[in-house]
Symmetry: C3
Subunit: 278 residues, 3 copies
Amino acid sequence: MSETITTEVVNRVLYATIENPPINLVDRPFVRDLVELLDELDGSPDIGVAVFSSADEDFFLPHVDVLHIPEYTAEAARSGGPYDVNLGALYRRLSELGQVTITVLEGRAGGAGNEFALATDMRFASRERAVVGQLEVGTGLFPGAGAVQHLSRLLGRGNAMQVLLAADDWTAVEAERIGLVNKALPDEELWSYVTAVAERIAGFPAAAVRLVKRRINAATLSPREDAYVDGSLFATLASDPEMAKRISFLMDQGFQTRSRAELEIGAVLAEYSSSGAD
Amino acid sequence: MSETITTEVVNRVLYATIENPPINLVDRPFVRDLVELLDELDGSPDIGVAVFSSADEDFFLPHVDVLHIPEYTAEAARSGGPYDVNLGALYRRLSELGQVTITVLEGRAGGAGNEFALATDMRFASRERAVVGQLEVGTGLFPGAGAVQHLSRLLGRGNAMQVLLAADDWTAVEAERIGLVNKALPDEELWSYVTAVAERIAGFPAAAVRLVKRRINAATLSPREDAYVDGSLFATLASDPEMAKRISFLMDQGFQTRSRAELEIGAVLAEYSSSGAD
Amino acid sequence: MSETITTEVVNRVLYATIENPPINLVDRPFVRDLVELLDELDGSPDIGVAVFSSADEDFFLPHVDVLHIPEYTAEAARSGGPYDVNLGALYRRLSELGQVTITVLEGRAGGAGNEFALATDMRFASRERAVVGQLEVGTGLFPGAGAVQHLSRLLGRGNAMQVLLAADDWTAVEAERIGLVNKALPDEELWSYVTAVAERIAGFPAAAVRLVKRRINAATLSPREDAYVDGSLFATLASDPEMAKRISFLMDQGFQTRSRAELEIGAVLAEYSSSGAD
């Protein structure tokens, strides 16, 4: 029934491929399908590991659909339980999933798309093609679905400040250097490496895997309340006129389509100041 | 009186060499001798730094003696004080020692052997020969003597997940990249580097060294209760039938002897699933 | 009115250049001027980013003026508010500044000079010329103005122990490797890189920048009380006779002047033990 996520199970590993044209935005259909997939995984003891990747050459998940924020937020809230609030809370559910989760980054992961990757347990990136970043601050938004918490803990204060405040693009090699991804691999090695890690873990005793993941989460995830605080800050800035002007400028450049405003978003963000749009 | 740890003191630095044939298992004799050594160091203001290394070319400390868990655990509990519970609690005592502690890794450090290294203050590894890892999850056990806490804090969530859940071998260079060791050095530089660091610190004012170590510990060590929680999870899984089957498979391959099941443990762990042993 | 810090504002970026002859010590005049600059920045919504660098080729800020500790401490306490105690508390104010702060390291940053850099939000270092370190333990002092807290969180326990206890010099490349600086860049790229990052952030919506910085601070800065605890430990050791002997030895070697005792302080610290001065 999923429109945007195709799944296949091999050796206790679920491979989830995201295909949500035109550019894999985190939008209402994707969020709906993600909730459904998490519901399925919760009831699937036969799946040990879930591997997420994209069918789009250019994009893993570039960011949310900024024109339909209330819609995807409402869809995320339908996840229910302690996670019934916003996208960040849904991602928290992803982090606490019983299965081990892995993201394969081959195209661009930005904003809430990178926050999806950060919510999974491990990230492996194509050395040639992956690009990651948090564009929010450059658009006047707050990275409210987990990036502040994850990056503060993964990268430390100095690099978290740079990634979040400069809102620029990071290559896979630089992302590996600062600890944002586990490892950057050449395309010709990427999938065999990931499959080996995934099948390996899926073949280990499930009780040990589950307990260890739970204890790492207890030591590394931020307090759950942060999903609410950061989500509120996102909501606040999303109704700021300054944000509307920046997004309008970006839409004029082709934002949310396969255009330079997406493929070189890091550079385009910096052009607003000198565009006279202000 | 120590059977398994030889010591020598030079310029306020104690060099402790582990030699516990056949392969330096963390077993009852080693734990007994470690407790004795910690008792001695507690009463030795003339020693500023303790450097731990192994006399065995292949092994620093590969893991615990899985056939005698109650015996070494009881020995660890004899350490007394707030540390009278299990191996993790004894390692916590090691972390809180008044002296600065350094581990030199030239062979394999795995499981509770790597947890020993993580409990010391710094780790320097032979670029050519050191291999580190946490095999527990691959055997159905829980890494309950500190690895979850140390790796979560040293490596961050992503790499901690991979090291602990994939339970694979890591080279010194990769271990340095993710922050698991301070530095990987070529064999020809390793000991002169370590000796210089150790003698340097041992020559500095003791009050400053002690206070700074105490404050770093306050900022970086996990709550003490975690030694009890993680130790309990280890004990729980140690009586799981799934663990018994995996260990039995490994014993058939030569586990706990100088065999491929030790020298290539990372690879051997993954062979169980396809062995039909299940 | 500032004697030791020259400022210039370009595109909402304030460039603050430190020039406090003879060697940019953190002394009473510099601390007075820093308090004044922070007061100015607090009332300057038109400035988005502050970039700190040094006019001295050899020194960013090598350390405090050890002969006038009470004087600069009293000056720092005049900062007022919750920061009215000591240098570490003043640096905490710097970390919590509304503006984003960047340090450019081209010469030596040591002791409280490196703690200044650590208190700013990002650090970029000259690959050829920057040298960083915490010399305190080598002189019998406690690094009490933030280093223990920042390094414990940025570097993790192992490398924090080494940087703080071995009290040695670190090159820019090694500092980047362990995460002490954001990035080490060749001289010919350093300033264009820094200016681009600074102007980029200064051109982004101020509300987003401010909120994100505040949330990163909440996740990464240590409890404020630590400034008091660490400052007290510094004060305690500063009156220790052992510290007086070490400092006296260093003064004989030219400490606090442009001499080998400053330009090769890492090496000189280790010479005390073998000097027979003890």
